[in-house]
């Protein structure tokens, strides 16, 4: 008879070992090495902040960081706005219709961002279907007004899957919002703005912030859409990282340092998000 404590310990180990192996070998070790790379130079002799100093003193890298943050902020604001409007509309719909719309919204989430970018190029690119029709029948040259292969086009492309995330996260919040609270507020004499700002907003705020953070993280960390839409020459952090480990210019240390800049932004946000998620019902991931 095996000692029950040993048996129990063996069983625990057996159940958790594969997960721990993945965690250690494919997340912790690579991340630590990457962190070490970002803090050392090509010769690898001693720890240095050289890579970070180089990034923060180089105007084009600073621009890349600024572009990434600005684009992600704009995408997140827009998608949270659309997401909350959608979630509000959901409250009027029957559950069946809601489920159908939800599955349509979920589609682009599994898609590679690449596909969305290419669809937009097919439609609105300089020789796209919509562009040439507009030019022929209305004499309007679309890329002159709205160039899809630019940062604005990128924000448009991001909306296709960010709205899915935000609306589904927020629909849980809006659906659980008790109508009687609003009615109570109004019957007690509050006008519509007081009801919105004093009653509804405090309840939905955690959900709004969670949706916003989620959208921001997804927007700042993806690069497939940007690479397909804006091209390798675009000045975004992620695209610069790709350039730094291409054959043309191989600088893994600088690339790691740049990647750490994204991590500095996303890790604290993700921790806040994780906290908020406990207050929010539902959500995609």
């Amino acid at each position: 008879m095996v000692n029950p404590y040993i048996k129990s310990f063996l069983l625990d180990t057996l159940l958790l070992l594969p997960f721990m192996l993945i965690l250690v070998f494919f997340i912790f070790i690579p991340f630590s090495v990457s962190l070490y790379y970002s803090l050392s130079d090509q010769s690898g002799s001693s720890l240095t902040l050289g890579n970070f100093i180089r990034i923060y003193s180089d105007r084009s890298y600073l621009n890349a960081i600024r572009n990434s943050i600005v684009i992600s902020l704009e995408s997140a604001v827009l998608s949270t706005l659309f997401g909350s409007l959608l979630a509000y509309a959901f409250t009027f719909l029957s559950p069946t219709v809601r489920d159908i719309i939800r599955s349509v919204l979920l589609l682009p989430i599994i898609y590679p961002g690449l596909v969305i970018a290419f669809s937009l190029v097919i439609l609105f690119g300089s020789s796209g279907v919509v562009t040439s029709m507009l030019l022929k029948y209305f004499g309007v040259y679309l890329p002159g007004i709205f160039d899809v292969r630019s940062y604005n086009g990128l924000i448009l492309a991001y909306q296709s899957f960010l709205v899915g995330f935000t609306s589904i996260t927020l629909s849980g919040v809006f659906l659980s919002l008790d109508r009687s609270i609003i009615e109570a507020s109004r019957s007690l004499g509050a006008d519509v703005f007081q009801t919105i700002f004093r009653v509804v907003l405090p309840i939905v705020a955690p959900g709004l912030i969670a949706a916003f953070i989620q959208a921001f993280i997804i927007a700042i960390s993806g690069y497939g859409t940007a690479l397909a839409l804006v091209g390798g020459g675009g000045n975004l952090i992620t695209l610069r990282i790709i350039m730094l480990i291409s054959d043309v210019e191989y600088q893994p240390h600088l690339a790691s340092a740049l990647a750490m800049n994204i991590a500095i932004i996303t890790i604290p946000l993700a921790l806040v998000y994780n906290r908020l998620l406990k207050k929010v019902v539902g959500g995609v991931v």
Partner: protein, 275 residues
């Protein structure tokens, strides 16, 4: 009509309008390549002027596309089976074993790590560490990277199904009736969580199949995946690339509907058992 009634009506109208516009936009960008895959000439009308099946034929004739399809199926298949097994074991641990709160919090946070760290950072890190080693030139380097990014999807899906079928009560009933841990796992949990397992597996498959960001960095030359093929063909011939995109769309659509169907089935089964 008072001001608040007016605001209410406007808000409702605006939200409906947004809903219609957003759904139309998503439909449009999601399915344009489906039409494109059958187009030969498409310039000045709502639908292509000249239709063709050549793009589909191209799909089965081009050696690069065929090889990339094989690579993607292989990598996504391995990833989905591996990840579902691994996270199923974790779920078993969480529900079967007496555990401290620390361990479960640790697991919950650890599973979400791929959401905190951008895919490009993880891919870059794995690239730097494992490129020079023996797995560097094989597809296992991409499988290992995919094992990390699918974890939130697989874990969340399995966890919600496990919670929904009230696994804790099932386990307690089974244990109190004298079944051992392994019997409980095999005879009680597995049949009940079966739909959840398939759903998680499909989701992992779709995520791995549709991944471009990690594959672009990590895929070895002989194992360039379907998404890389799309990227390389798009600027040569958009309609040929659309045919490859069609494949990815089919996988995604089938997956998302099956996952929704299976999770509903899991609930239905649970309700039946309770009755």
């Amino acid at each position: 009509m008072s001001l608040s009634d007016f605001v209410y009506v406007v808000a409702k109208a605006v939200s409906y309008l947004t809903l219609v516009l957003v759904v139309a936009y998503i439909f449009l960008v999601s399915f344009i390549p489906v039409i494109g895959a059958f187009a030969l000439k498409w310039e000045l009308s709502i639908l292509p002027e000249v239709w063709t099946l050549n793009n589909i034929k191209f799909l089965f004739e081009d050696p690069f596309v065929l090889r990339s399809l094989y690579a993607s199926l292989l990598i996504a298949g391995i990833t989905s089976v591996f990840s579902t097994t691994v996270y199923f074991l974790v779920i078993l641990y969480l529900f079967l074993r007496e555990r401290s709160r620390w361990v479960s919090t640790f697991i919950e946070v650890a599973v979400l790590i791929p959401l905190m760290l951008p895919a490009i950072l993880l891919a870059l890190a794995i690239y730097e560490v494992y490129r020079p080693t023996f797995i560097g030139g094989t597809y296992w380097i991409l499988v290992s990277a995919h094992l990390t990014i699918v974890s939130p999807y697989v874990f969340r899906n399995l966890f919600s199904v496990a919670k929904m079928i009230d696994m804790k009560t099932l386990i307690e009933a089974s244990r109190s009736l004298g079944a051992g841990v392994l019997t409980t796992a095999y005879k009680v949990i597995l049949p009940n969580i079966y739909h959840g397992l398939i759903g998680a597996m499909l989701l992992a498959f779709a995520v791995s199949f549709g991944d471009f960001e990690m594959a672009n960095l990590l895929a070895p030359w002989q194992y360039r995946t379907v998404t890389i093929a799309i990227f390389q063909y798009f600027f040569k011939n958009a309609w040929n690339a659309s045919a490859i995109i069609l494949l990815v769309i089919i996988v995604s659509v089938i997956t998302s509907f099956l996952v929704a169907y299976l999770s509903r089935k899991a609930i239905a089964r649970y309700i039946e058992v309770v009755r």
